[in-house]
């Protein structure tokens, strides 16, 4: 049993807190993790996709939720990106996944956010994506990128 749990222990865990309207943390954390992955010698394409997922997921927490956290686990076979937030939740996930769908307010759009491209980008870059959400409570997003798998 102990062995088993060890096998699933992540090799590297990175954690960042995300506060409301903290627009810096998404690019900061994505840049930092990108550097770490480069040092580990991970393939360029995987790093690119991971960085996009981190940026978009963290930005969604900063823009649409109240506060939350970003966690990135780097294992020998897979990178997992997880965001958990306290916030309004997503009413219709299928709709939210559609390119161009956004509830971002005008002042957010004026800054260049709110194209409704974040979730579609995340979907496109990940091998597995799960979104758990509860209205009035919050949202958890889990994306996986396999290190040794062809991504189409």
């Amino acid at each position: 049993m102990l062995n088993n749990s060890f096998r699933f222990t992540p090799h590297i865990t990175l954690e960042f807190k995300i506060e409301e309207k903290d627009f810096f943390i998404a690019s900061e954390s994505a840049s930092r993790i990108k550097k770490t992955l480069q040092q580990l010698g991970i393939k360029q394409d995987i790093i690119k996709r991971t960085a996009i997922i981190i940026y978009e997921a963290a930005m969604n927490v900063a823009i649409h939720a109240i506060h939350g956290a970003l966690k990135v686990y780097v294992d020998p076979e897979v990178i997992s990106v997880v965001t958990e937030d306290v916030g309004p939740g997503i009413e219709n996930v299928e709709l939210a996944m559609k390119e161009g769908y956004s509830t971002a307010p005008q002042e957010i759009r004026e800054m260049g956010f709110g194209a409704g491209m974040g979730l579609p980008n995340i979907k496109q870059c990940s091998d597995e994506l799960v979104i758990d959400t509860k209205i009035g409570e919050g949202t958890t997003l889990k994306a996986k990128i396999y290190l040794n798998k062809n991504h189409e």
């Binding site: 690019s27 978009e56 260049g112 491209m117 980008n121």
Partner: protein, 115 residues
């Protein structure tokens, strides 16, 4: 083609001093939607946008953008210029609009690559 050569040939205004002028520009992208830029801009690019909020620097840093070009002589806040210098991202400005600047840049880069 280096950023310095582009600046000279198009007569662009440089807001960040010597930053990145000797760096090689490989490609370019035009968009004001940050998610679009994040998904599609190539490494070592020049990015043309009317967005001037400090957030563009986060995107630029993450995507290894060499320079941002602001069209129509739009104003850029001192805070943004200062941060760009810290992050090693050049900010340039021009009186022409994004369409004109893009056309000129596209032709210059194509010509340089075909040499």
């Amino acid at each position: 083609m280096t950023l310095g050569e582009i600046v000279k040939e198009l007569g662009l205004e440089v807001l960040t001093g010597n930053i990145n002028l000797n760096k090689e520009i490989k490609s370019g992208y035009v968009s004001d939607l940050l998610s679009d830029v994040i998904a599609n801009i190539e490494q070592d690019s020049i990015w043309i946008t009317i967005q001037r909020h400090i957030n563009i620097l986060g995107v630029a840093k993450l995507k290894d953008v060499i320079a941002i070009v602001i069209p129509r002589n739009l104003s850029v806040e001192e805070e943004v210029i200062k941060k760009a210098k810290e992050e090693g991202i050049a900010i340039l400005r021009d009186r022409r609009n994004a369409f004109e600047i893009t056309g000129l840049l596209y032709n210059m880069l194509k010509k340089a690559q075909n040499k």
